[in-house]
């Protein structure tokens, strides 16, 4: 699954910065029907975790109330630089991952 995570190019130690996550996913609610009247089965990203330098800083439990192609932005305090990993999984067990690097100067 496609997705990406963005952080500011450079942050100072102790600074609070925004982490923005965008995932490409239909977030199908299960309430829609296709052209033949058959129910389109639900398909949603239900879990998302963000780790910075190996430490979990944010997680979310999503549902059908989240818009298609989920966008989630949250904050984190820069303690040490390293990889910013975002991992998510949907209700069909498919997993996705996006990584970027945090430069703490």
């Amino acid at each position: 699954m496609l997705g990406r995570v963005q952080v500011p190019p450079k942050v100072k130690r102790g600074e609070t910065f925004e982490v923005r996550v965008l995932i490409q996913h239909p977030m199908e609610t299960g309430f829609r029907r296709d052209i033949n009247g058959a129910v389109i089965p639900a398909h949603v990203v239900d879990r998302l975790v963000c780790r910075i330098a190996g430490r979990e800083v944010f997680s979310a439990e999503l549902g059908t109330g989240v818009a298609a192609n989920p966008y989630i932005a949250f904050f984190a305090r820069a303690e040490q630089g390293g990889p910013v990993e975002v991992e998510w999984s949907d209700d069909r067990g498919q997993k996705g991952r996006a990584v970027t690097t945090l430069d703490v100067g």
Binding site: F17, R32, E56, F58, A67, A68, Y71, A73, R77
Partner: protein, 151 residues
């Protein structure tokens, strides 16, 4: 007389047919009290203590931008541990739960949600000291999510 009866009957038939399946499923506001109580573990949340940014009029309920900023110093001893979003008129009122911690720095979340109609949106924030805060905001939705049956 027969013509009148025929017209009345066909009128009823047309009216019931014109109503799409989705509109019949159109949900009135549910009582989200029990859900909020469950999320708050039976505690009574204090009103306010947060800023909710959402358009007063959302043209498309399929994607409504929402920003939640809870007032908190976000230190190791006093922080927001979770933010729950509840939409009373959505078929599944539990929209999302965000879990933060002291290393979040700021208790602020932006996202885009679906809203099935004009309703009151509720945001429950769990504080690290065991207290809860409840924020409410009215959103007018002109074109609701879940009603669009086309692909």
């Amino acid at each position: 007389m027969r013509r009148r009866r025929f017209l009345a009957a066909s009128g009823v038939a047309l009216a019931s047919q014109a109503l799409p399946v989705a509109a019949q499923r159109f949900q009135p506001a549910q009582d989200v009290g029990p859900l909020l109580e469950k999320l708050a573990g039976g505690k009574r949340p204090e009103p306010g203590g947060m800023k909710l940014e959402v358009p007063q009029i959302a043209e498309n309920g399929n994607s409504v931008p929402l920003r939640i900023a809870v007032e908190s110093p976000m230190t190791a001893t006093s922080y927001v541990s979770a933010i729950h979003v509840v939409a009373e008129r959505n078929p599944r009122p539990m929209v999302a739960t965000f879990r933060l911690g002291p290393h979040s720095g700021r208790a602020e979340i932006s996202t885009r949600i679906r809203l099935a109609g004009t309703q009151k949106l509720r945001v429950l924030a769990a504080m690290s000291d065991g207290h809860f805060r409840l924020g409410e905001v009215e959103v007018l939705v002109t074109s609701a999510a879940c009603l669009d049956e086309s692909l």
